[in-house]
Symmetry: C2
């Protein structure tokens, strides 16, 4: 059994707790929290432990999955805990990945542990598909579309507008753009041509709806470059119809192998729950981290470095006979 | 530069020759043939060499891509040439892969070379996506659909019928089945519900068309379990509209991460030329074989064993900053 720890019990931590139940060779041993452990109720028969006591678990856990946020948690936590554990994170601030990689790599090499960072679906499975697309069709174009799904960042941005009580924002790929890419037309697409944004907003009583709508659709970076639709709905309707966290998207590589011979590789995800799916990816890569470290590998890795067979509990013979 | 050799100059060999032109770090050094070299005209400025003289190229080639067939060529060639070269093949007789693996592994371990077998898209990229789907969504169902594309085996089977001059058979996935799978309905599908078969047949003058059609649609293993449509057309029309070798298909994994929370992962290919695309996959993996062997790895590998980063000529830093 691979002994797993979770640090941070939000959506992602709960997702890992769930994912463990579907993996017979992995057992959850503890949930670590920065909160008062007595206030955290988990859905498994495992202890909730203060992160201050985590060092006592050094030899009781094989892999620690860090379930914090990329803004302030992971840049500190991943290098810190790579000093004691094999670690997995979902660090997703693209432009800061090289710096994060360097910090984690140093810590993990010093401790003889292995870390795999920036896992999930983007960065993660989508990155992997961009890589495969590029090496197989070097003469081609990449397209990544996101959605239909909830953007937490955009929902938050709307909630900060005066007069808004609650809000949910969906990112939606434009069908015409997808169709053109799939047809191998290799279009040049502007931001506006790729995605639309749909907002469901609960306004405070007496709020100026016209003003709220205007502030949304003109908001720089978030909405001004998109065609945005705003719907005002009741709190009840928001809870009833927009409580989920679905997401997904498409990575498409279109390219040729000789004049006039085009190929289209498409990878797509349709996820009922963004955090649960991300957690499932983290859990599979925890298995790989454990096995690679056991073989003597140390330092920081990304999804690009991991031989796919290490993700599976099956032997090579089983993989060959059942999946090849 | 990675120095490449091709053995066998059919569709696949020509495809590799093409693919090399799109990969700046790979150069084609020689085409080896079992035919009289003087009768083989290639599209590159490289020597055509009798396979009998291949041993003289032992130190002049880094990777040999074997472009023969799976029925009789590769079971002999891959172990044979793994004694001298790092080798790549597209062996696709699923049930014989374990035996082939064993033979190639022994030869390559003895010689200190590295072999990667059963590459292409199925087995190959589709296998990889089956693996990823299974490890990320352990509680789910796999679906593989092929087409729309030309099945060489089925076309050949029709051509063997008395009165048939020429024929082309397309395998076509059933839309309703694809839609149901994509909707996460996890249907149980019979062979008939997954694919239909469409045949374009050129009959000999005076042939009994009703009889040909009957022989096709009732042919055991090939057609009897499918809904099959037969069109009789002229030789001109066959050449004009059905000369290509397009193919493709879909690998879909549908599964849940908790009660009521379903996810669909879909990987699809739409290929103008089946052999050219397959060749592009072989060429990318030739790079990986070269690099892995240089690092001291030997023996037989499959697509499951190769860290994706080894497929790319980019450094890890470049991959992280451009694709992660």
């Amino acid at each position: 059994m691979i002994r797993l720890g979770i640090l941070g019990y939000g959506n992602l931590g709960k997702g890992v707790e769930n994912a463990v139940k579907y993996n017979e060779d992995i057992e959850l041993c503890a949930v670590f929290t920065r909160r008062n452990p007595e206030t955290v109720k988990v859905n498994s028969e495992v202890p909730v432990v203060s992160v201050n006591d985590i060092e006592q678990w050094k030899d009781k856990i094989d892999v620690l999955i860090l379930c914090g946020g990329s803004a302030t948690d992971l840049p500190v936590q991943t290098p810190e805990y790579a000093k004691m554990f094999n670690v997995i994170d979902s660090f997703d601030t693209h432009k800061r990945i090289p710096e994060h990689f360097k910090n984690v790599d140093k810590a993990a090499k010093d401790s003889g542990k292995l870390a795999i960072i920036s896992l999930g679906w983007d960065p993660g499975l989508f990155s992997l598909n961009r890589l495969f697309g590029n090496v197989i069709l070097p003469d081609g174009k990449d397209y990544t579309f996101w959605g239909k799904g909830v953007s937490q960042g955009h929902s938050d941005a709307i909630r900060r507008i005066k007069g808004v009580k609650n809000a949910k924002q969906y990112t939606i790929p434009v069908d015409a753009a997808l169709t053109s890419v799939r047809n191998g037309e290799n279009p040049e697409l502007t931001t506006r041509q790729k995605h639309t944004r749909e907002c469901f907003v609960v306004a405070e009583e007496g709020a100026d709806l016209k003003q709220i709508e205007k502030e949304i659709v003109t908001m720089p970076n978030y909405f001004d470059e998109y065609d945005t639709t705003v719907h005002f709905i009741s709190e009840e309707e928001l809870i009833k119809n927009h409580s989920g966290i679905p997401h997904g998207g498409f990575v498409i590589r279109s390219g040729k192998t000789s004049d006039g011979t085009n190929h289209v590789i498409e990878y797509s995800l349709k996820l009922d729950s963004n955090p649960e799916f991300t957690s499932s990816v983290l859990t599979a890569y925890a298995r790989a981290a454990y096995r690679l470290n056991k073989e003597g590998h140390t330092g920081c890795k990304t999804i690009f470095d991991i031989p796919p067979a290490y993700l599976s509990s099956k032997t090579n013979e089983e993989l060959i006979s059942t999946m090849l």
